[in-house]
């Protein structure tokens, strides 16, 4: 349990409801005693419902094992009724939790939920960065985990270029940063990259993928994927980010626009998350909850959530805001609609029931009829909305660290507490106080020591210590480049903006039309090199990807950028060319050892140009190239 690292070190070893007990109950008990099925009228999803108990009495009574039905059922293996009995450790955990008086996270005094900075105003990014580090360092210290040191310039440079612009720097950009001796050069670089058009492009395509992952070939759209419209959505987001539109404005422009897609490319959002190329209230509600509110309501679409405390009527009360919106891949329109929605036949439970419109765990609008989407967005983007600012902040954190402060990133709820409560409060406050200024939040995160730590393992740590260091953000993660990052980085290294790495022969006739087995240049690369979006530290590429990078004829043919460089700069010595190749791929200069290896290789080769191609091959096939360290 990753989150457990923080708590167990923070105080006594008593099990905690949220960290220790609920995950066990969820895995073994809630299938029959949860939101969907309640055998014996027992619901184990929350502490109050456990205390209330079922037919045979309270499931748990603080400090009293004999009166706790849950304990009585598991001790003699009467429950779970399916699968293996609970292990001795699992039973011990339940026993301790009951004996120690049912402790919960919410009661804990030491949970460090103070954001450290006042909520009502925007602070200088450097001040916010400092507060971020204070949060992270305090948790590390409490757990007695030593963090990794700050990364050297080369490691920082490549990471921040990939994160903020989605590609490696050019050799010139890399050299100029590495040679810069001025003290504030990291902050300056962050500013420069945030101001570059590539920043918007990278965050635009990131949001495009969060909304519509390219590896899903079929879903939600009747088998015809609106690829061009999806790309236009990414470009639209790019422009919003580059124009520094605030997040509330961007979300408002997505969620409240009406009309034809040709004038409002962002409207494809509704079609992408709908079904059979039609806009649906449930698709809109489900994704708005996940993407913009950080809550998972998808289970509650058809029935009460078996594991989380979300009721089906809460989902449909939210869906009602989208009930008057109709459209497809060409047009989206909202007409004033009723304040009620009927649960459709497709739901397992309660089909046909009318549900009154309501904000999620919030007020109920009074009107009988209205244009509901703008009302919803007014509530969602208000500074005191409990979901909006934190959801974005957590997603932004996840983008850089591959793990949210709340995990999964769209599972904000009381019983799934954050690993760093004060930190998520700080980021949410700061984001709201800045008027949802995206660049402000990102600038603060990137200027923190936490972001700038090395991802190398710098001292002897056993597996447990290393896991703790990772879980507590004490070391930067090593991540896998997104397909877009890898493709753009390859294009730069090979000096070929039209790089085509598909494996097709035009004679095969399989590149055109809807029955084509191979996608266009970009789509096919995105499919071939797709990554695990839920965990970017998970390297999932296999033999086909490795063979492409090793043997694809286009990559074997060498780099146009290198050819150009050699043509422009005559009389370059082998060490100079090797250095240029390192800068063009790994964004750093070679170590003496690396330089000697490559230079020897070139000198011993019969043809220097071919030898440089070999060095380039070696660099592109290095782990260091494919990963963000």
């Amino acid at each position: 349990m990753l989150v457990g690292v923080a708590s167990s070190a923070a105080s006594a070893n008593d099990p905690i409801l949220e960290h220790d007990v609920l995950p066990l109950l969820q895995k073994r008990c809630m299938g029959c005693h949860g939101g969907l099925i309640q055998k014996g009228k027992l619901d184990l999803r929350t502490l109050p419902s456990m205390l209330k108990g079922g037919k045979s009495g309270p499931a748990v009574v603080a400090g009293k094992l004999d009166d706790s039905e849950l304990w009585q059922q598991v001790i003699d293996n009467d429950m779970p009724s399916e699968g293996e009995p609970l292990s001795a450790d699992e039973k011990q955990l339940l026993r301790k939790w009951i004996e120690s008086g049912l402790p919960t996270w919410t009661q804990r005094k030491d949970k460090r939920d103070n954001p450290l900075l006042p909520a009502d105003k925007k602070h200088e990014p450097a001040r916010v960065a400092q507060a971020i580090d204070q949060h992270i360092d305090a948790a590390l210290k409490a757990a007695n985990v030593k963090p990794a040191p700050v990364a050297d310039d080369a490691e920082f440079l490549r990471r921040v270029y990939l994160d903020l612009t989605g590609r490696v720097p050019t050799p010139q950009q890399a050299a100029s940063f590495l040679d810069d001796q001025s003290p504030g050069k990291r902050a300056k670089l962050i500013d420069t990259l945030l101001a570059s058009p590539q920043f918007g492009e990278q965050f635009g395509r990131t949001w495009r993928e969060w909304i519509a992952p390219p590896e899903l070939p079929s879903d939600m759209n009747s088998g015809r994927q609106p690829i061009e419209q999806t790309r236009a959505l990414g470009k639209w987001f790019a422009k919003q980010f580059n124009d520094n539109h605030t997040w509330d404005r961007i979300v408002r422009d997505v969620l409240t626009a009406n009309g034809e897609l040709k004038n409002n490319p962002q409207l494809i959002y509704f079609g992408l998350v709908g079904q059979n190329a039609q806009v649906t209230a449930e698709g809109s509600a489900r994704t708005v909850a996940s993407l913009f509110m950080g809550v998972q309501l998808q289970c509650a679409q058809c029935h009460d959530d078996p594991y989380r405390d979300w009721a089906q009527h809460e989902f449909w009360a939210l869906a009602a805001f989208f009930g008057g919106t109709r459209g497809d891949f060409k047009k989206v329109e909202e007409k004033p609609g009723e304040s009620q929605i009927v649960i459709p036949k497709s739901a397992f439970r309660n089909a046909g029931t009318k549900v009154q419109i309501s904000f999620l765990r919030g007020p109920t609008p009074k009107d009988k009829k209205a244009t509901w989407r703008p009302r919803f967005v007014d509530w969602l983007t208000a500074n005191d909305n409990p979901y909006f600012a934190k959801a974005f902040s957590n997603r932004a954190w996840f983008y850089f660290f591959s793990r949210g402060i709340v995990n999964p990133i769209d599972d904000f709820r009381e019983l799934n507490p954050p690993s760093h409560p004060g930190l998520i409060a700080l980021l949410g406050n700061e984001f709201a106080a800045s008027g949802h200024d995206v660049k402000h939040l990102i600038r603060a995160i990137c200027n923190s020591k936490t972001y700038q730590r090395t991802s190398a393992v710098t001292h002897d740590l056993n597996d447990q210590q290393r896991a703790a260091q990772t879980a507590l953000f004490g070391r930067a993660p090593v991540r896998v480049m997104s397909p877009d990052m890898l493709f753009d980085s390859l294009k730069l290294a090979f000096g070929d903006p039209k790089l085509d790495l598909r494996s097709i022969d035009p004679k095969d006739g399989n590149t055109n039309g809807e029955s084509a087995a191979v996608g266009d240049v970009v789509l096919q690369f995105q499919r071939d090199f797709c990554i695990n979006e839920e965990d970017t530290t998970d390297f999932t590429h296999g033999i086909p990807q490795m063979l492409t990078l090793m043997n694809h004829p286009r990559l074997q043919a060498g780099s146009k950028a290198l050819d150009e460089h050699l043509k422009q700069q005559k009389d370059l010595t082998p060490p100079q060319v090797v250095e240029w190749l390192y800068l063009a791929t790994l964004s750093r200069r070679p170590s003496d050892e690396e330089s000697a290896e490559a230079v020897d290789y070139v000198k011993n080769a019969s043809d220097a140009i071919d030898a440089y191609k070999d060095v380039l091959w070696m660099l592109v096939n290095r782990s260091e190239f494919m990963l963000i360290r």
């Binding site: 699968g83 070939p217 489900r286 022969d505 006739g509 530290t537 990807q545 063979l547 071919d610 070696m618």
Partner: protein, 423 residues
């Protein structure tokens, strides 16, 4: 119910190690396989021959006396197939013909999804395709060879709706198929077209070692392992499985010069070398202008390729461990086959250690519309998927963990296996 683990159980590891699978290169696999049947440590392998667009059952495996193609006798008394398939007719003792498929969906893409996954398409996530499930369940982890390969056997002029790509969904990208675009070219990028790979690898090795020492993290280990496997495959004699040039000319000709025949041959070579699931797809069976003329043109290569495949697997002792499946996303309207028809259609299975020499289910022979209704033993898409996975030795009662901690059954709860087929 046990939740499915994404990796092997310890027990599987022990069994696989005992079978020499996990030790990779030390086992001279390929050479030994030419003479001996593969003893797969878990489950069976499968070759899925997918006729994209919806092949007509009355012009193939459920002919009617009044139909455009006449029924002919087969090697099994009482079992008849269409006259255009004389070679397959001689293999009927290895075949189980299912004539009572009834699958609800008449539009191409949704039907392809339904028959590849056993579930109707929903919003929000993608169900894993049968090949991906097989990859996870019966694939040989850590093996040189990929566990799931698709082969593009070409495209007739004619449509068949959007192409369905097998996706692993919540099983993870590891179970995505490796795609062979053209059987004649084999595995793309298997060989270097320039440069001295050995010299390059030597140059790479030292720096990779240094990097792994500095960054001993899972992503680096996984990258280096994948890279090593790719190099191992390039150098492995087993990679020759992708190269049809190794086959004797005579056998290549028996499979047929058509790309479908060569795809079937490649499928056999891959199964023989340890691949668990091969899907050969041929597109263009959406015969709206009538099936007779088009299938008459396709029948010779389909007949030769499939009959040769079945007998070749048999001769090599692989047939009992390899299920061959022929199907599309639905059948075609009784009579001339010009329309889509999901109510009553046929699929053909062969080998796999199932009950063969049989037909399962029956459509009506007489009446106004022969073949329009099922008279016996309807098989739904979930039934079909459960039976297929069970035939491969997979426990279909397992659950996967879907998005949002949602337990996903491997097959739809309504599924009942077709017991008649299972031995």
């Amino acid at each position: 119910m046990p939740k499915h683990d994404h990796w092997l159980s310890r027990r599987d590891y022990v069994r696989l190690s005992a079978a020499g699978v996990l030790t990779g290169a030390s086992v001279p696999w390929f050479e030994s396989l030419a003479n001996a049947a593969v003893k797969r440590p878990r489950g069976k392998s499968c070759i899925l021959l997918w006729m994209d667009g919806g092949p007509s059952q009355q012009h193939t495996f459920d002919p009617k006396p009044t139909g455009e193609f006449k029924p002919i006798k087969t090697s099994v008394p009482g079992v008849h197939i269409a006259e255009k398939f004389p070679k397959l007719a001689q293999c009927a003792e290895h075949m189980a013909i299912m004539r009572s498929m009834t699958t609800e969906i008449n539009n191409h893409y949704d039907a392809k999804y339904y028959l590849h996954t056993g579930f109707k398409r929903v919003t929000g996530f993608e169900h894993p395709a049968v090949g991906c499930i097989a990859s996870q369940q019966v694939g040989l982890p850590g093996d040189d060879m990929p566990s799931f390969v698709t082969i593009d056997a070409g495209n007739d002029k004619g449509n068949g709706g959007r192409f369905y790509r097998s996706v692993p969904g919540y099983l993870g990208p590891r179970h995505a198929p490796l795609a062979v675009q053209n059987p004649a070219r084999g595995l793309e990028n298997l060989n270097s077209t320039g440069g001295d790979t050995d010299a390059r690898l030597k140059l790479l090795a030292a720096s990779e070692q240094r990097f792994a020492k500095q960054y001993p993290v899972p992503a680096v280990n996984a990258k280096q392992a994948a890279f090593d496997r790719a190099v191992k495959l390039m150098r492995s004699p087993r990679a020759k499985a992708f190269d049809l040039e190794d086959e004797p000319t005579e056998l290549r000709q028996q499979y047929g010069e058509h790309r479908f025949g060569q795809s079937c041959l490649l499928a056999r070579r891959l199964i023989e070398s340890g691949v668990s699931f091969v899907e050969v797809f041929h597109r263009g069976w959406d015969d709206h202008e009538g099936a007779a003329k088009r299938i008459a043109a396709r029948a010779p290569w389909m007949d030769a390729a499939m009959a040769t495949l079945i007998l070749d697997l048999k001769n090599r002792g692989l047939l009992d461990d390899t299920l061959v499946v022929w199907m599309g996303e639905f059948g075609r309207s009784p009579g001339n086959g010009s329309g889509h028809f999901c109510r009553a259609w046929s699929a053909m299975w062969a080998g796999g250690g199932i009950n063969t020499g049989i037909t399962v289910g029956r459509t009506n022979e007489g009446g106004k519309n022969p073949g329009g209704t099922i008279e016996e033993r309807p098989i739904t898409a979930p039934d079909y998927m459960a039976t297929l996975l069970t035939a491969l030795g997979i426990d279909t009662h397992q659950e996967f963990m879907g998005p949002g901690m949602r337990p996903m059954p491997m097959v739809d709860k309504s599924a009942k296996v077709v017991k008649e087929v299972l031995a």
